[in-house]
Subunit: 662 residues, 2 copies
C-alpha cells in the first residue's frame, strides 16, 4: 500500500504542468480580454472593444462553419503558394540578369567566360555558406530523411524560422545558378513547406490548445503534399506524392486535409501567375497544345512501353554512377577533407568546373546550355516535331525560334545535340548531386527523361515521316518527351506519381495512357531484384539508420510516468491499469482524513491498459502501433510485470537520437 | 511441468494440419509431375512432356522477372476490363433494340406506351428475381458494405461464381432499363471486380501457397480500384476511390498494386473500344473538346465556387428525401410486406410507374427522357453553349441535333427543360433507389449534377452573352456541367475523387481548377455538422453495425492455439512467450527418452510475445493493429495472465457474424 501512495504522489508532481495545458486556450483569451478591460486609461476604448467584438464574432462565425484546423490548412496552402511564386519570380529575375549581362558582353570571349562561370560559382558558394552557417540542418541531402522519420518529430532547429530563411535564400541561389548546375526545387521546397506547416500547427495549438500531437503529425503530412502542389500547381500529384513519400506512415485520415490544402496551394499558385500577367487564365505550368483529335495511334503504345524500358535501363546506369560518386566523395581523402572544412570552396570549385564545361565555346553549344531549365522543358515538350520544323525553320515565331536554334547549333543536327545532351548530362548531374547545398534532384531527372523521350519521339517521327497508316497522322515527339520524363523520373525515384505530375504540369489528359504505360514499365524494371532507388542509394552510402529493436535504441526504458501499479509479487510490479489522475486527486482531496486506508479500487475506477509491448518489440513496430491507434503511450511488460512505459514524446526522442547519431 | 506437457500435446494435435499447408505448392506440383510421369500408357508422352517443360520454363522466366502476384494483378485488370466492355456492349445493344422497337411503333400511341413501360418493368423484375433467387447477397444495397468490413473476409457465398453471374446478369438488366429507371453501374461493378479479385487470389494461392491472408486482403483492395478504373477507363480516380472507400482500412502497401492493376484495367478498356471501331484511338470515355486556349476567365472561379455551394444545398435536399423514402419503405406496412415476399413484383410496379412518368406524351418530353444516360451526359458536357446554338440550330451535325431537339421540345426552352429535369429527377431518383436490384447510385447523381451545372452555365452564358471583359471569350457551359457533376456527386458521397474522375472521363485537364474548387466547396458544406453521406444514410436506416468491443463481440475468447504457457501462479497461467512448434517437436523426437524432465527453456528458445491486448480492447483496435503490423495473432492478457488468443481468421469470423446478424 505504501508503494502505491508513493507512486501516486510522484505522479502528482510529475503531471502538475499538464493540467494547465488542459485548459483550452479559448478560456485564456477570454481571461485576457477581461483583464485588458480593466486598463481603462487606454485611449479609444470604445472603438477598440468594438473591433475586438468584431474579431471574436468573425472567429465564432468561422468556427461555426468549420473547425479552425481547416483554416490553418487553407492558410498553409496559400502561404506556401505565395512563397513558391515569389521564389520563382526572384529566380527568373536573377536568371534574366545573368542572361542580360552575358548578352552585353558579346564579342569579349574572356569576359563572357568569366560571367558564365563566376556567376553560378559565386551563387553556389553563397548558397552553401548560408545554408551551413545559419543552420547545419538545411543542407541539401537532408530532404531524403522525409522518407524515414523526420516528419514525425519536433526538431526545433530543423523547423525553425532562421532555418526557413536560410533554406529559402540558399534555394534561390541554387536555382539562380540555372541550367549550369542543373538542380531543381522540389525537395527543399517540400522541406520549406513543412516548416510553414510546423508554424501553422503551432498557430492552431495556440488558437485551441489540446490535441497537439495529432494535429501536428497531420499538418506535416499535409505540408508535404502542399509543397509539391504549390511547386507545380498540381494538386492531385501532390496528394499522391505525400502518400508515396510517407509510405507506411501515411494515415488515411490525412487524405482529406491533404487534398484540401493541396488544392488551395495549387489554385493560389495558378491565380498568382494570372495576377502577374504571365498568363491570361489559370493554366498548367508547362502548358502544351498537342492535337487532341487523334493524340496517338494505338500501336504507338508499344513504342511508349519500349521507351519506358529504355528509361529504366538508363536510370539504373544513372543510379549506379550516382552511388559511385557519393562513395568516391566520401572515401577520397582530399575531397572529403575539403568538404568537411571548406564546403563553400568545394561548391564554388565544382560549380566553376561545371560552368566551364557548359560554356558555349567549350561543350555548351552541343547541349543547349544557354536555355534555362524551364526553357529546356518547354522546348522538349513542344508538340510539333523538329523534323517538320527543319523544313521551314525561318518561319518560326520568337520563343520557338530560340529553342530551335539552341537545339540546332550550326553544323550539328538535333539528333546529335540530343544524343550528346543525354550522354553528357549523366556525368554533370552526378557531379552536381555531390554539392552540399539545398537543392532538389527531381526536376533535373525529369528534364533528362524528357530529353530521352524527345530523342525517341524524333527518331520515330523521322522513321515514320510519311504518316502512319491511312490516317496520315504524324507522330508527336512532345508526347514521347512527356512519357519519357514521367518514366525516367519514376524509375529513378521508384514512384508512380510522376506520371500524373507530368499530365498535370502539361495539362494533357489525353496522353494519360502513354505516360502511365511508360512509367509502369520503367518502374517494374527499376524495382526488380530490389534495386535501390535514388533515396535508398543515399541512405545506403550515408549509412542512415533503419529502425532497430526498442531495447537497443533505448536500453534504460523511461520509468517516470507510472500511473498505477499493483504489486502482487514482492519482486516486481504487475500492471493492472491506469487511473485518471484528476479523479484520483479529487478523491484524495475529498477523503483527506479517512483516505489512504481504503482500497484504491473503491475510490476510483481503474482503467485497464489495452496495449502491452515487450522489450523485444522493435521501435518500428511501436511507432507503427502508435501512429495507427493514436495511443499516446505504450506499456512495456514482461509476463505481466511492468518494465517501462514509452510515450510518444520519448518515441520521437529515440528516433531523433538515432537519426542524429549518424 | 505436467501442465506444460499437456499444453504442448494439445498444440501438436491442433496444428497438425498447418504443417501440410506450410509445404509450398510448388513442391506439390513437382510431385504431381513426377507421379504423372509414371502413367507411361498415356499417348503423346514426348510432346506432352515438351509442352510441360515449356510451361514450366515460361513460368520460371515470368517469376524471375516479377513475383507471380503481379501477373495476377494484371490479369485481374484485364478480365475486369473485358467484363466491363462486354457488359457495356450488351447494354448498348439492348437499348438500341428498345429504341428501334419504339421507333417502329410510331403513330400507335398505345403500343408505344406499352413498349416504353413494359420493357423496363420486365427487365427490372427479371433483374430482381435473378439477383434474389440465385443468391440473396447480390441485392443492390449490399455494395455499401464495401465501406465497412466486408472486403476483408472470405464469404464464400458473397464471392461465389454463381453470385458473379447473377449479379452480372442483373446489372445488365438494370442498365438496359435505361434512363427510365436511371440507375448506374459503378457500385455493383466494383462488387463484380472484387469477386474476380477473390478468384485471382485463389489462383495465386494455388500457384504459390503460403502468405494467403496478406495476398487476399491486398487483392480485394486492388479489385475495388480496378472496378472503378475499368468502369470509366480512369486509372488514377480508381486508386483514389479505393483509398477513400477503404478509409482507415487502407494500407499504403496496397498503393502500388492498386495503381498497376488499375492502369492495366483502364488501358485494356480503352484499347477494346479502339478494337471495336468505336474510337480511332484510346480516348476518354466522354471525350469533350473544350477550347484550351482560354478555358475560362479567372473571375469565373467565383461562379464555380457558388455552383459548388448550390450543389451542396441540393445534395442535402436529395439526401434528406432519400433517407425519408428508405424509412417510408421500411415502415409502411403494405410496401414492406410486398418487398419481403414479392420483390420482383415491387420492382416491376415501380419501374412501370417510373416509365409512365417518363413516357414522351406524359412528362417525358420535358425531361429529355428519350436520351440514354450516356447521351444525357454527352449532351450536357457539350462545349458549345446552347444560347449560340439556338441562333442556327438547323446547321447542327447529326448527334448534336438529336440532343438539341431532346432538350428543346416544341414550345419549351432549354431553361424550362433543364429546370423541370432537375426538379423531377430528385423524386424519380429517390423512388428508383428503393428498388431491390443490383444497381449503382453514382452515375445518376453524376448526371444530375451535370444538369445542375449546365443550367448554371447556360444562365451565365445567357447573362454574359456579349463575351466577358476585353477578351471577348464566351462562357463554356460544358465546363460548368463538368464542375457541377463533380461537385454534386462529391457532396452526395462525401468524397473528393469525383473531381478527378470528371477530369479523367472527359479528358479535360485544363478544367482541373474549376472542378476542384466546386468539389471542395460542396464537400465542405455537405460534411459540415457531421451530416450523413449517402452511404451513412443507408447504414443509419438499415442499422448496420459499428464495431463494438472485443468482449461484446466474442464473449468466449478462442482458446485453442495456446503455444506455450508457463504457470507461475496456481490459479491462472502467465504468458511467457511462444515456441516454434516444429523445433519443439524435433527436440521431443530427439530426446524421447530423457526428454520431459529437462526445463523447456534448455530445449528450445522461447520467443517472447510482442503484443498483448486486454479484453477491453475494441474489435476495431485489434483489427487496426493486425492490419498495420501484419501479425497473424494477438494475445489477450490481463495483468500478464493469458485470457485468450485471437487470430486473423477468428477476427474475420467475428466481423462476419456481426455483419450477418443485422
Amino acid at each position: 500500500m505504501d508503494e502505491t501512495c508513493v507512486n501516486v504522489k510522484r505522479l502528482e508532481e510529475n503531471e502538475e504542468q499538464c493540467t494547465d495545458e488542459d485548459k483550452t486556450d479559448q478560456d485564456k483569451t477570454e481571461e485576457k480580454l477581461i483583464s485588458s478591460n480593466e486598463h481603462s486609461w487606454k485611449p479609444w476604448q470604445q472603438s477598440r472593444s468594438r473591433i475586438r467584438e468584431c474579431v471574436l464574432y468573425v472567429k465564432k462565425v468561422l468556427v461555426s462553419f468549420a473547425s479552425m484546423v481547416w483554416y490553418c490548412y487553407a492558410l498553409l496552402g496559400i502561404i506556401t503558394a505565395l512563397m513558391s511564386f515569389f521564389m520563382d519570380m526572384t529566380v527568373a529575375k536573377l536568371l534574366n540578369a545573368h542572361q542580360w549581362l552575358y548578352g552585353c558582353l558579346s564579342g569579349h570571349h574572356l569576359l563572357q567566360f568569366l560571367c558564365w562561370t563566376l556567376y553560378p560559382a559565386c551563387l553556389c558558394a553563397l548558397s552553401t555558406s548560408f545554408a551551413h552557417s545559419i543552420c547545419p540542418f538545411s543542407a541539401g541531402q537532408l530532404h531524403i530523411h522525409l522518407r524515414a522519420v523526420w516528419l514525425w518529430m519536433d526538431m526545433p532547429d530543423y523547423l525553425s524560422l532562421s532555418n526557413l530563411f536560410a533554406k529559402l535564400f540558399g534555394l534561390i541561389c541554387t536555382l539562380a545558378s540555372g541550367s549550369t548546375v542543373f538542380l531543381g526545387k522540389v525537395g527543399p521546397f517540400v522541406h520549406l513547406s513543412i516548416m510553414v506547416g510546423a508554424f501553422m500547427s503551432r498557430l492552431h495549438v495556440s488558437c485551441r490548445g489540446g490535441k497537439q500531437r495529432a494535429a501536428k503529425g497531420e499538418m506535416l503530412v499535409v505540408a508535404s503534399a502542399v509543397g509539391v502542389a504549390s511547386c507545380f500547381g498540381a494538386p492531385v500529384s501532390g496528394v499522391l506524392f505525400s502518400i508515396e513519400v510517407m509510405g507506411t506512415h501515411y494515415s488515411v485520415r490525412d487524405y482529406c486535409p491533404c487534398f484540401f490544402a493541396a488544392a488551395c496551394g495549387a489554385i493560389t499558385f495558378r491565380l498568382l501567375s494570372v495576377c502577374s500577367r504571365d498568363q491570361e487564365t489559370t493554366q498548367a505550368l508547362f502548358k502544351t497544345s498537342f492535337s487532341s483529335d487523334l493524340p496517338y495511334q494505338p500501336f504507338e503504345i508499344f513504342i511508349f512501353a519500349l521507351l519506358g524500358l529504355f528509361c529504366s535501363i538508363l536510370s539504373c546506369i544513372y543510379l549506379f554512377c550516382h552511388r559511385w560518386a557519393l562513395r568516391f566523395v566520401k572515401t577520397n581523402k582530399p575531397i572529403s577533407r575539403l568538404l568537411a572544412t571548406e564546403k563553400s570552396l568545394y561548391s564554388a570549385i565544382v560549380a566553376f568546373l561545371l560552368a566551364c564545361f557548359t560554356f558555349y565555346h567549350s561543350a555548351g553549344h552541343f547541349i543547349a546550355a544557354e536555355l534555362t531549365m524551364k526553357q529546356l522543358l518547354t522546348s522538349l515538350l513542344d508538340g510539333t516535331s523538329w523534323y517538320s520544323v527543319s523544313q521551314n525553320a525561318s518561319a518560326l515565331p520568337e520563343p520557338q525560334k530560340t529553342f530551335w536554334q539552341a537545339w540546332n547549333p550550326p553544323g550539328k543536327s538535333y539528333f546529335q545535340t540530343l544524343g550528346f545532351f543525354i550522354t553528357a548530362k549523366v556525368g554533370l548531374l552526378v557531379v552536381a548531386c555531390t554539392l552540399p547545398l539545398p537543392a532538389g534532384y527531381f526536376m533535373p531527372v525529369f528534364v533528362y527523361g524528357a530529353a530521352v523521350g524527345r530523342l525517341a519521339g524524333e527518331g520515330s517521327a523521322y522513321l515514320l515521316s510519311d504518316g502512319i497508316s491511312s490516317a496520315k497522322s504524324l507522330i508527336n515527339p512532345g508526347s514521347y518527351a512527356l512519357a519519357g520524363a514521367a518514366a525516367f523520373s519514376g524509375a529513378v525515384t521508384h514512384t508512380l506519381s510522376p506520371a500524373l505530375l507530368a499530365l498535370e504540369m502539361s495539362g494533357q489528359c489525353s496522353h494519360a495512357v502513354p505516360a502511365l504505360v511508360a512509367t509502369l514499365v520503367s518502374n517494374a524494371v527499376a524495382r526488380a531484384k530490389h534495386r535501390p532507388s535514388f533515396y535508398d542509394g543515399i541512405s545506403l552510402i550515408k549509412q542512415l539508420p533503419h529502425l532497430p529493436s526498442l531495447i537497443r535504441a533505448c536500453p534504460k526504458l523511461w520509468f517516470c510516468h507510472v500511473f498505477y501499479v499493483f504489486s502482487c509479487l514482492p519482486d516486481s510490479p504487475i500492471l493492472l491499469g491506469t487511473i485518471n489522475k484528476s479523479q484520483l486527486r479529487e478523491h484524495l482531496h475529498q477523503h483527506r482524513n479517512e483516505g489512504l486506508c481504503k482500497q484504491l479500487e473503491e475510490v476510483c475506477c481503474i482503467q485497464p491498459v489495452r496495449l502491452h509491448l515487450t522489450p523485444e518489440s522493435t521501435v518500428k513496430q511501436a511507432h507503427c502501433i502508435m501512429s495507427a491507434t493514436g495511443e499516446q503511450r505504450l506499456f512495456i511488460t514482461e509476463s505481466g510485470r511492468l518494465c517501462g512505459i514509452i510515450t510518444w514524446k520519448e518515441m520521437k526522442k529515440i528516433i531523433k537520437e538515432m537519426a542524429t547519431e549518424v
